[in-house]
């Protein structure tokens, strides 16, 4: 085996080493974009997110109503199939964009959609805001990033199960339950300030209480319908979130300071892009997190000559990712190769080869 197993915990030796060798909170590569162009791209507006959110909520209500009305017959299935994806998958991108505060110009709209989507995706809105800030500081830096989806060597069976929400949903509910009782653990305390602990507990208790109420209603009515509407979609509707989410960084480099090496941009069909709020432009998002989701296609056009070519489709990206991940089972240091167009600035690599890392003192 090429290289040993790494310690992905935030309190372990790999994290300490990343700090020592300057990989943590480091400066990342950015493509040069004229200030005027960037200001235009960063501009905030309420229009696109308000439209998309109204459509989202309307479709959620209509599909839920159809499912309830036809409950007990097979005709309910397509309604719940739609409801499940709108709830259990679209929640992730709404959580994400509103967490950055870029989706809407009006902040209370970002905050409300953020809390609703956090509930749906079973993430504590306070804890995950801090977790995601760390993910942007130290993207895929081992021992620093709390949001690494593919740890090496990869557990492929577990990743495959995530498409049906297992064991994901139980893990996340367990985290909320623990936060409701005792607050952040040692790992979370690495990135959540103490002043935020009361908020972490508040949201965890509220979210747990709503889910328990749905469970209790299901028991009392002796019907799983309440759980089909609340909580359940995080299992039966999560497949799209997992499908697109794994592509963000799957099979790519760890411990680099250049998002062109550790993030993937994939061209997708319009439905997936709408559900995913353009996060398929993932290199662009990481390089410039100030650019709202609706401006990412324009940002892509501006900087694409400095980026590896985007994967042309979801199947194409999966083929690349699966090949890399399979190889990582025996060669954990392997990552899918990236190439740059002629004229692009060279990669800011340096740290990606683990064997080349200087020994921490």
């Amino acid at each position: 085996m090429d290289g040993g197993a790494r310690d992905y915990s935030l309190t372990g030796p790999d994290g300490a080493r990343a700090v020592e060798i300057g990989l943590a909170s480091a400066e990342w590569y950015h493509t040069d974009v004229p200030r005027k162009t960037m200001k235009g791209l960063m501009k905030r507006t309420d229009g696109p997110a308000t439209r998309d959110t109204l459509i989202w909520l309307m479709l959620l209500i209509l599909s839920a109503a159809g499912g309830i009305a036809l409950w007990g017959s097979w005709w309910a299935v397509p309604f719940f199939a739609v409801y499940g994806v709108l709830y259990g998958s679209a929640c992730d991108s709404r959580w994400h964009e509103c967490g950055h505060g870029t989706a809407f110009k009006t902040q209370w709209k970002n905050d409300w959609v953020y809390v609703l989507a956090s509930f749906m995706v079973l993430r504590n809105p306070t804890a995950w805001r801090w977790s995601h800030a760390r993910h942007h500081t130290d993207t895929i830096i081992v021992g620093r990033d709390p949001e690494i989806a593919f740890m090496r060597p990869p557990d492929i069976a577990r990743k495959a199960l995530a498409f049906i929400g297992i064991p994901d949903v139980f893990v996340h509910f367990g985290i909320l339950l623990r936060q409701a009782v005792s607050g952040p653990n040692a790992e979370e305390a690495d990135y959540i300030p103490t002043s935020e602990v009361p908020k972490v507990k508040f949201w965890a208790r509220l979210f747990v209480a709503i889910h328990l109420a749905a469970g209790l209603t299901a028991l009392m009515t002796w019907s799983i319908l309440p759980l089909m509407l609340i909580g359940g979609p995080r299992i039966y509707g999560a497949w799209h979130m997992v499908m697109v989410g794994l592509l963000q960084h799957g099979g790519l480099a760890e411990d680099v300071l250049d998002h062109r090496l550790n993030s993937r941009t994939v061209h997708m069909n319009p439905v997936s892009r709408w559900l995913y709020w353009n996060m398929n432009y993932h290199v662009e998002h990481h390089m410039f997190p100030m650019v709202p989701y609706h401006a990412l296609p324009k940002l892509h056009e501006v900087i694409k000559d400095d980026l590896p070519p985007a994967n042309p489709s979801i199947p194409h990206a999966y083929k690349e990712m699966i090949a890399a991940v399979l190889r990582q089972r025996t060669e954990p240091n392997y990552c899918a190769p990236r190439s740059l167009p002629e004229g692009a600035k060279p990669f800011r690599a340096g740290f990606h080869d683990r064997t080349a890392l200087p020994e921490a003192g």
Binding site: S25, K39, M42, R44, H100, G101, T102, Q107, R129, W130, A133, H136, T137, P193, S195, E196, F288, P289, M290
Partner: protein
């Protein structure tokens, strides 16, 4: 109080925008609001030391380019997590078409 220090011609900073200004081994951010008045804060975000001049001015606020934390650049107050610690602010003015700051 120190002397006024010349930063640049006022029209080099657009209204509702920010530039970076380095002086005496320190870095600052110099802003103009929608009325054209000048303001100055420390140049690095109090969360993780990123240059605020690469961020976005939104009315009276500056949004940090790294994690979208926000500050009121007139008072320095931290308004949005992960920015929690206020920014230091410094007097700024426009004299004879030039932006000047006292730091």
């Amino acid at each position: 109080m120190s002397d006024w220090i010349d930063v640049c011609a006022a029209d080099e900073v657009e209204e509702e925008d920010v530039i970076r200004f380095d002086h005496g081994g320190r870095t600052f951010a110099v802003y103009r609001d929608e009325d054209g008045a000048a303001f100055c804060t420390d140049g690095l975000c109090t969360h993780e030391q990123v240059h605020l001049a690469e961020g976005l001015v939104l009315e009276d606020e500056i949004e940090c380019p790294k994690h979208n934390g926000r500050f009121n650049y007139k008072t320095g107050a931290a308004l949005r997590t992960p920015a929690c610690v206020a920014l230091a602010t410094y007097p700024a003015r426009i004299e004879g078409g030039r932006i000047q700051v006292q730091i």
